[in-house]
Symmetry: C3
Subunit: 667 residues, 3 copies
């Protein structure tokens, strides 16, 4: 039922406001065609003011209100922020930092996920909520916790870590080998000697650090599934998820977690205003990739994004007019089952009182609400929220499409196919590589995600519809696969990449790929150990460049940051360093081709290389020759165009105004 | 008696030197016309070498020596630095950092002001000093402690904080409301759950942080008044004060404290050499403002400043020749009852051995002492230290005034009126706004004091005599009042500002004013909530600009850093943003006018605006059209001119040499 | 026996590899003409897997293998990294940070050198190794511990510190005086009140900090001598040392320690690629200076350096072709008894897996091994490893010397004199001055070692053979002695400098010399207190300049950073500041001359001054007018030339190719 398949709305925190505001909120939600509201995320101290004593009355009224207004509830369990009584009762169940400092409440996320006391009270409140609301007609999706990702190094963690390691490694000998404990005399003789990677004198053990991230990910996942299962025990049909937050510091393996949620949901906060369109595309493509690989058909949900700003170097840059809808629709075009914001009404007090809301402090008169309302109307007109029986109202800023085919001609929601992936061009993205790079003490600082996003951005700029795929994804069928800086690569992944090429794929591998095994041990004998044969190259030396130094290749391209010294026992050379050494290579293998890029290329060089590779592979962009800043997405409804620039462009014979979103009819 | 009303001198730490140096010091003090010396500030471990056992002999000799030389003693209680025996006896009464780290002695200021043990020994030594010296003829002023401002987060603090909160908020419900604890599930169900804002996982609660500053201020004030009262019990006529240190990190509400001292005393250490004249003027005007609002008639004292340097980005810039006297006299012109330095003789060892002294390490032969001596002679000749019967000796660098009226014609000290305030132009300065801005997580980093000083500096540069006024100051009579970034504004303050304009005042309010109530809750409905009606504007959106971005207004002026989107339901527009939206507005209200400046203006723009406002309000500068770097102060003795530049200027028809101080006769 | 006098090799960690790799390693060592391998440095958890239970079998095989291949073993005690069982058994014997945080294992160097438990287990393992291997024929040198330098602030340290202070100062009165505890009320009344300089509120006591460094140095030295003596008890003929690591943070007084080792051994890791040649020369000259002053005849050993990289601002810059041998030979030319690397085979895992090795991850095919092999062959041909009976093979990159005298004509190792010092030109280097500068809160940040290296580098660039001398070195005979920023100077040192000049020496003293006594108390009466009379100057004021500000002298030279105001009661002025004040002075004293440089001069200005001084003193460079980047060293075999540039130069009538090393025959 399409009504039920689309989420347009926001986090709603009515407990921060007098009840008369609730009525205004519900009316305004209707006005903005909101279909769903997330409630309860940080309500624990309201729901359970003292241990075991519940106050559900207010939440009853909230859910009833939503239901009466035809709005779905995304009901959260509040376990991301235990109330002050938890600190009081269980001081040793709070977060301990790496240096042994015990944190206290006063913010959020202050707890140890391995503390039995924390797990017990979490499960209790989740169960109580399930008991009470599992059959509430407003509840459409359960949202366990919020943005899992809290580190802790306490004794509970130490104990649990040992158990996890026993399970993973079996014996201490295996652990010692995996962690290379012969380096710096770290060989363990007793499981009790193993500790979390707490503050130590100098450089830590990378394998220990990586395993600790894996451990935290697994333990948080257990905390999640524990709540999920409690909910499903009461309501087997319940849909349950949790919102993923992306970031190098987050010890959560989202690809793995995606198997345990009913709908992959992400929060997305870009780090720069100008970079927001490309960053949004990457996050959306990654979420779709996780969903697809976990068997969810590529469907996912943008659970949180900021209504009106992008925080850039500590400054809240305002989204210019039109950007709210353009970014929301770009996510939807890439498979999101809606667009949800944090938050509905900006808080008057508290730590995030200056986070923007759909209803800003001044009220519903502001531009941001007008834009949200227009977007809601547009979505409703599109059939994405058909339970609302209001007339379709054309929203000018969403299109400058002339009469004829276009928005007006779009099919109804019910008729639409679900999600379109690329199927042609993919970028490999493995969060564990980011962890691995972060744990290791590399020859120079390396930003894994930045490298991956760079390659994705180039393809995005060139008009390609790109899938971002985790290592477990099916690779067959892709014409082009880019594997940037896949530092940690399992034997199995290496085998699958070989097979991919052999079967006809075009593979582009960059420097720092296939270097270490799953325990961060270098694959010796010549880099990239896991892919040396496939690529036909042998790297003998890394030669990182200091900031400000560039090296010109004989192709006219430029490398900065990273270079290598390699020999090419089995590959053709496409580009060379100034001294004639190979820089970029190509090797035919089976029915396919494997390229190796031994240096950090700038965007222009990536364009030239990828254009060539895609042409050779027969991977066509959605639209060719797009101007910079114009995004084209293939959807079941045809191609959507997003003009992220201020200028009017002519695309596919049509004028597309600055800031406009235009849909081309399915051809 | 004028002798007794003027302080020219320094901190003197004879305990660091053999007694033969004391005699030399006293002789040199006479030579430099020193009238007062602060003693005992950090002498606790000498005065009470073991708990309860006193050694007053050396201090007897110090005070007797001062008295014999006709020099007053400012006698300090030494409680800012407990001796090592305190650490040994009361390890849990030492400072605990936010992260739980307990500090130890080895520096200064290591104690918890809420620890009963600390309070007990502090009161004991203060009482012992009072008993012994209350009637010593040299003791003219008591100086309790030194630069109150130490943070602590220990359990003593937690207990005391709860008591303070109960008194402030009454019930937990009120507290929960004031602190917006519904955000992030922080609702308190038991007073015992309330803690100081210790290290937590992520962003802290702004209202908790602000109340903690208020609490620390109150508790330190109680520690001060406890000592003050003990002294006054022994010597009811004793004059008692403590030295205020300005800085964003100092949790002391100086406006409030000013009511509890007999003489407002400040320490002043500018942060840049070129900025020192303007910063000194601001600090002086603020001290005068606190004194006036607390009923002390505007009298105050510069208790500490550095003899020969300004520390700028970690480098001690030397004051060029003449600057010592020029800065001292500028403070005096603005109401200081003297000029005191830290310190008399530079320490040979210890943490501040490289802090400059009037007697530098090389001895009394140095330039700094020569300048101090010349200043002393000048002050004596001025009648500010008439107890010294020495001939007046003209000090050339203090003036290049030609014969005739001028220094030579100045009236005697006895004849002078006391302190002149501006009475015409004022700048609102509320340290709590700085705390509020620091506790909040704003849309961009904001430097409250920098903004206030910027507006003050512009008026200073334009030759205005400015009062810097705390919120409780009387506003009636000011022609112009500038309120920069008064983020936190009480209802009462808003009412008084309205009344001020209504009665004929010209009010200039900037962005980020009137935004939150006293608990940091945003005043919703359109910014600036507290002043919206008065100003006739309604701000819908903040639009902070990243570093390096500027916006041109239609007046030719430039805004950087902060801009806003506003509507002007009831105001005229004086300047507009490039897109035509209002930037600066003006509204007539009653007999006055209220201006609103929605963006950060550079100095040139502030000059244009304030010149216009002052002209309209009839607020004339002390002297018009002063060159940059020339300061004019109106005093009871006429106008004093300070040429802070190296160039000679023609002012009011007279040549004023580079670096010179010139007095114009009262007209 | 020359064989036994030369160390070409590396740290070898066979325990990280399967035994089949050992055989390959030994064969490759032969191939590279390796004469020595350091083993056991971090092997504790392998050697003593559980407390008191040893596993020596593998080390037996390692040492036997080395012996069979004719390679010497440098046998380390493994005490720099206690195994995890130590943490488990003695949690309170681990490092405590200044802020009280207790560190745990997981890296290296995590222990308290003052913890009885640590000392006991360290002595036990060292003794066990001595018992077992003292008579092993491969063992040629004992290498106790690794890079002593770990700070700790725990209670064990507190107790030991008090004992050390009692011994040093005798009474508390003396301590209070030495530490100037009257500043900020720190006077101690009981030894139990004395603590390590733990985290405190604000600036710490410089004298306490300096004494704490001295204390740590002495206690680590005691830990070293304890192990050394245990070894010598078993094997009185054993040669024992430990490897010094240079760095401002290392609390080890290497000049003093040099008396306790049988061979001064240093590790050297330059901080910039371009700066590596000059930094290496400085480190080598310093090591030779320590050795000579300690009676070891100037012999020393480069125990560790990196095979293939220099880490510069976090980026591993690759050594270009030829640099490996050039830097190794440059050290040897300056007296090193060999060239040892860290490490032989790059680790596959662990914290330093990206540290380069002679055998890189790709194996023995790489450039770095080829260069190491070529160097080994060259050294063997030179007679430095005559036990290897292989034909000499000319290594082209080591020379472009035309036929005739040169490498081919070099004498045999047996015939060579041992070490040549300069004997003519010296630079004063006292690590305690670095500590003193670091502990004090100076008028601006000062980099002591940077200043010393700057003066050394100028002399090096001008072709001088320079000795770097500790304060205890014999000074007689030097024509020129430069004393840069010798902030802390004892009376005895001052007396010896005076005598040095009086006897005919040319002494160049810079600003910030002779300022404080051994307790960091300023020598009052005019800077530089200890040298005022000798230099004939009297500094009255320091005038540090902010970054970016330069002052031109009347000589055309430029000063930045530091300037001073001085009078010259007894000296001639060589250069003046813009205002005519003296900047550089000269005073004849006895048969010599004393120069004073009151400001920080740039390299060009140092060249002009030192050229003049050296000319006047009759100190000739090894070769005159060397191009920048060409280094000339006088050795027993004649002059060695190192061309660190890429260009070919004509030197002494011969062409010297870019990167080449050329030996001129003894003339």
């Amino acid at each position: 039922m399409p009504t039920k398949s689309f989420f347009h709305g926001a986090d709603w925190n009515p407990e921060q406001w007098p009840e008369q505001v609730w009525a205004e909120d519900l009316a305004l939600m209707r006005e903005a065609r909101v279909t769903a509201a997330t409630v309860g995320v940080f309500s624990w101290s309201r729901l359970e003011p003292t241990p075991g004593a519940y106050d559900f009355g207010w939440l009853d009224r909230v859910l009833d209100g939503l239901h009466e207004h035809g709005i779905d509830a995304v009901l959260a369990t509040p376990t991301a922020s235990p109330p002050p009584w938890f600190t009081q009762a269980h001081p040793n169940a709070l977060t301990m930092r790496r240096d042994g400092v015990r944190l206290v409440h006063g913010s959020r996320d202050t707890y140890c996920v391995n503390a039995p006391a924390y797990r017990a009270v979490s499960l209790r409140i989740a169960s109580a909520l399930a008991e009470r609301y599992a059959r509430h007609p407003a509840v459409r999706l359960w949202h366990v916790h919020n943005e899992y990702g809290t580190w802790c190094f306490c004794d509970h963690c130490a104990r649990a870590f040992r158990g996890w390691l026993r399970e993973r490694h079996g014996t201490l000998d295996v652990l010692n080998d995996a962690w290379t404990t012969d380096f710096w005399s770290q060989r363990y003789a007793d499981w009790a000697q193993v500790l979390p990677p707490r503050a130590t004198q100098y450089l830590g053990n990378p394998a220990q650090e990586l395993d600790y991230r894996r451990f935290l990910s697994d333990r948080m996942l257990a905390a999640y599934t524990e709540q999920r299962d409690a909910i499903k025990q009461v309501a087997p049909q319940a849909q349950v998820t949790t919102n993923f937050v992306l970031g190098g510091w987050v010890p959560v393996d989202h690809a793995r977690w995606s198997h345990e949620v009913d709908l992959v949901a992400i929060d997305h906060y870009p780090s720069s205003l100008d970079g927001a369109p490309a960053q949004s595309a990457f996050a959306a493509d990654a979420a779709r990739g996780w969903s697809a690989a976990a068997g969810h058909g590529g469907r996912w949900l943008l659970m949180e994004h900021a209504p009106a700003h992008v925080t850039e170097d500590g400054v809240q840059r305002r989204k210019p007019p039109g950007m709210l809808a353009r970014i929301a629709l770009a996510h939807i075009a890439r498979g999101s089952q809606g667009a949800m914001y944090f938050q509905w009404r900006a808080s008057a007090g508290g730590a995030e009182q200056w986070h923007t809301g759909l209803i800003a402090h001044p009220g519903s008169t502001t531009r941001v609400f007008a834009e949200a309302r227009a977007l809601g109307n547009h979505l409703a007109a599109e059939g994405r929220a058909p339970s609302y029986r209001s007339a379709y109202k054309k929203v000018p800023f969403l299109t400058d499409q002339p009469a004829g085919p276009g928005l007006a001609g779009a099919g109804s929601g019910a008729a639409r196919a679900d999600v379109v992936g690329s199927g042609e061009v993919a970028v490999w993205f493995d969060e564990l590589c980011g962890w691995a790079v972060g744990a290791s003490h590399l020859p120079m600082p390396v930003d894994y995600r930045g490298i991956v996003e760079g390659w994705h951005r180039t393809l995005w700029r060139r008009g390609h519809h790109v899938d971002v795929v985790p290592p477990a994804a099916a690779l067959a069928g892709y014409r082009v696969l880019v594997v940037p800086a896949a530092y940690l690569l399992s034997d199995e992944s290496a085998r699958r990449l070989d097979e991919y090429v052999h079967e006809g794929g075009h593979l582009v591998v960059t420097y720092l790929s296939g270097i270490v095994d799953e325990h961060l041990r270098v694959r010796c004998g010549g880099y990239p150990g896991a892919l040396r044969e496939l690529l036909g190259v042998r790297v003998e030396e890394f030669d990182p460049l200091p900031a400000g130094v560039a090296v010109g290749l004989d192709t006219g391209d430029t490398a900065t940051g990273w270079t290598e010294h390699l020999t090419v026992p089995g590959a053709a050379v496409l580009a060379r360093y100034p001294d004639g050494r190979p820089a970029v290579t190509q090797r035919a293998h089976g029915a396919g081709v494997a390229y190796y890029v031994s240096c950090a290329l700038d965007d222009a060089a990536r364009v030239r290389l990828l254009d060539e590779v895609c042409a050779a592979a027969g991977a066509a962009p959605v639209l060719p020759d797009l101007p910079d800043g114009v995004e084209a997405v293939r959807t079941p409804d045809g191609i959507w165009l997003f003009n992220h620039t201020d200028e009017r462009h002519e695309i596919a014979g049509r004028p597309v105004g600055g800031g406009a979103v235009v849909r081309l009819p399915p051809s």
